[in-house]
């Protein structure tokens, strides 16, 4: 193996174990920063030693012992050199850590669930939850997270610091939430994971490798979570949803760089192993009690994917699923998707009728700037043969367009209308 490739392989191992090690050490030391620094040192040491000594049988245990040693050294240093009050506190921490180290057995306890719930605590700002989760559990460096979100490193570093300070100053507890708070807290975790996935999945020309890593991390972390809480259907369902989307990533854009709708995609470019994994996760979700919004969304994705061809897409079933989703978790985006499906199932006027219900309500003023609404309306008007109105709607949708692939797609549709 070439030096770069083996370094990459070792790097992957270290990153894969980082979340587990960090989580367990935070339980011992209670200090995020102390543990992060110690782990970083231990990781650097691993990347030096392992090429010579060989990769240890249990990398997580190796990293834990190395990081723990460094953390204790740091505490010792603090105890000796700090101001009296600080030194007293550091001595106390040191004593506890040394006891814990002596009593620690060989197994690294899996405290990742605690860490994940803490990183996703609703008291933290949403962007901070995302950044913290990627940093702490994804094992991504601050630079890597910044790159993936197209942000300056300094901005992201400040965001992370502020979040860690909030955890400390407000005393956000490091624990898995109790039964009474479980549902709401799990929702928060799933929302963070889905956000990470969507961020990585949204087509953009900048930093494709970094964006890709977001999808991979989101899938990996959701898998970890599914293994830790196997009876939670929505976790399996979210995993299914991510895999079913991700499997189609090579078919999303045409040769001209334009976005390609699902039912027109080149299915030979779909990744079938990932599709199978996604369908398997959906089966796992269905076998759990209850049926939540992610399960319904995953069912929609599955319906698209198991159809033998785009022309065979079961639009009626999909429309029914969106109706179900609307009852569970109503929102303009669900209504728009439902209108599109209904338009394909029962004709464009049926879809337009569903959209017009949005125009009267509280969301009316928000609709003016809501691109998917205009794009869906344009498509329905086009299919209904109401060409002049369709052209107007496409122009509105194009004005609001943020991505080049979507822009090219809409421009193509617009050009195809004969006036």
């Amino acid at each position: 193996m070439s030096p770069e490739a083996s370094r990459e392989a070792l790097d992957a191992i270290v990153r894969g174990e980082a979340g587990l090690v960090l989580a367990s050490l935070i339980a011992t030391f209670g200090d995020f920063d102390l543990v992060e620094d110690a782990l970083q040192d231990a990781a650097a040491s691993a990347l030096e030693r392992w090429p010579q000594d060989g990769v240890p049988q249990r990398p997580a245990a190796w990293l834990t012992v190395a990081a723990r040693r460094r953390a204790i050294d740091r505490l010792r240093h603090r105890a000796m050199h700090a101001e009296k009050a600080e030194a007293l506190r550091a001595s106390e921490e040191l004593r506890r850590a040394e006891i814990a180290a002596r009593e620690a057995d060989e197994t690294v306890p899996d405290e990742r669930l605690r860490l994940l719930f803490t990183c996703c605590h609703p008291a933290l700002p949403p962007e901070a939850r995302v950044a913290l989760t990627l940093r702490a559990l994804g094992g991504l460096s601050t630079e890597a997270v910044a790159r993936a979100f197209l942000l300056p490193v300094a901005t992201l570093a400040k965001r992370l610091d502020r979040a860690k300070r909030k955890i400390r100053d407000a005393r956000i507890p490091y624990r898995v939430p109790p039964e009474s708070e479980w549902a709401a807290r799990l929702d928060s975790v799933l929302a963070v994971l889905y956000l990470i996935f969507n961020e990585g999945y949204s087509a953009t020309d900048a930093e494709p490798a970094a964006r890709r890593s977001l999808c991979e991390e989101a899938i990996r972390l959701t898998r970890v979570l599914a293994a830790l809480v196997p009876r939670e259907g929505e976790v399996h369902a979210l995993l299914a949803l991510m895999l079913l989307h991700d499997a189609r990533r090579d078919a999303r854009l045409g040769a001209d760089g334009a976005f390609v709708p699902l039912d027109e995609q080149d299915r030979s470019r779909w990744r079938h192993d990932e599709l199978s994994a996604g369908l398997g996760a959906l089966r796992a979700a269905v076998s759990c009690p209850g049926r939540g919004p992610y399960q319904v969304q995953a069912a929609v994705a599955a319906a698209h994917v198991v159809a033998p061809s785009g022309a065979d897409t079961p639009w009626r079933s999909i429309a029914a699923l969106y109706a179900e989703l609307e009852a569970l978790a109503p929102s303009p985006v669900v209504r728009v998707n439902r209108a599109v499906a209904e338009g394909r199932a029962r004709g464009p006027e049926a879809g337009l009728a569903l959209l017009s219900a949005l125009e009267g309500g509280d969301t009316a003023s928000l609709l003016a700037g809501y691109q998917p609404y205009h794009a869906a309306r344009a498509d329905l008007l086009r299919r209904a043969g109401r060409n002049e109105e369709a052209v107007a709607a496409y122009r509105l949708a194009l004005d609001l367009c943020r991505g080049e692939p979507e822009r090219r797609f809409l421009a193509g549709r617009l050009a195809g209308i004969a006036l």
Partner: protein, 119 residues
């Protein structure tokens, strides 16, 4: 560690006049019941219901002088109506109590930890 629970609610003048007295009385009764729960749980440290903002006076140094002005620190839509201080082990415990405060239905409850929380 202590947490201040600060109550921000819309001014009473926004309640339609015919319902005002009854609405306020109901809220006060519910707040009283909530404070009793805090006492029974042993978490209550202190509390203060504040007079309306019309009764507020603000001081600020400008140039060489301390200026005295009628009114609150800032004109806000929701106004600070009072506060309670509780002793809790962590934020989740404080949030648990705040969630049950009746003010949450009509206004905002801010949960602020005391300064320099020891670990």
């Amino acid at each position: 560690m202590q947490y201040a629970l600060l109550f921000y609610n819309p001014p009473h003048t926004l309640i339609p006049a015919p319902e005002r007295e009854a609405t306020i009385a109901k809220m006060l009764a519910e707040m009283g019941a909530w404070r009793d729960e805090l006492q029974r749980a042993g978490v209550f440290r202190t509390g203060l219901r504040l007079a309306p903002v019309d009764a507020a006076t603000s001081l600020r140094q400008e140039g060489g002088d301390v200026l005295v002005t009628d009114g609150p620190f800032a004109e806000t839509k929701e106004i600070l109506g009072g506060l309670v201080v509780v002793e809790c082990a962590d934020l989740d415990e404080a949030l648990g109590w705040a969630r049950r405060c009746p003010i949450v239905r009509v206004g905002t409850v801010e949960v602020r930890p005391e300064f320099g929380a020891p670990r």
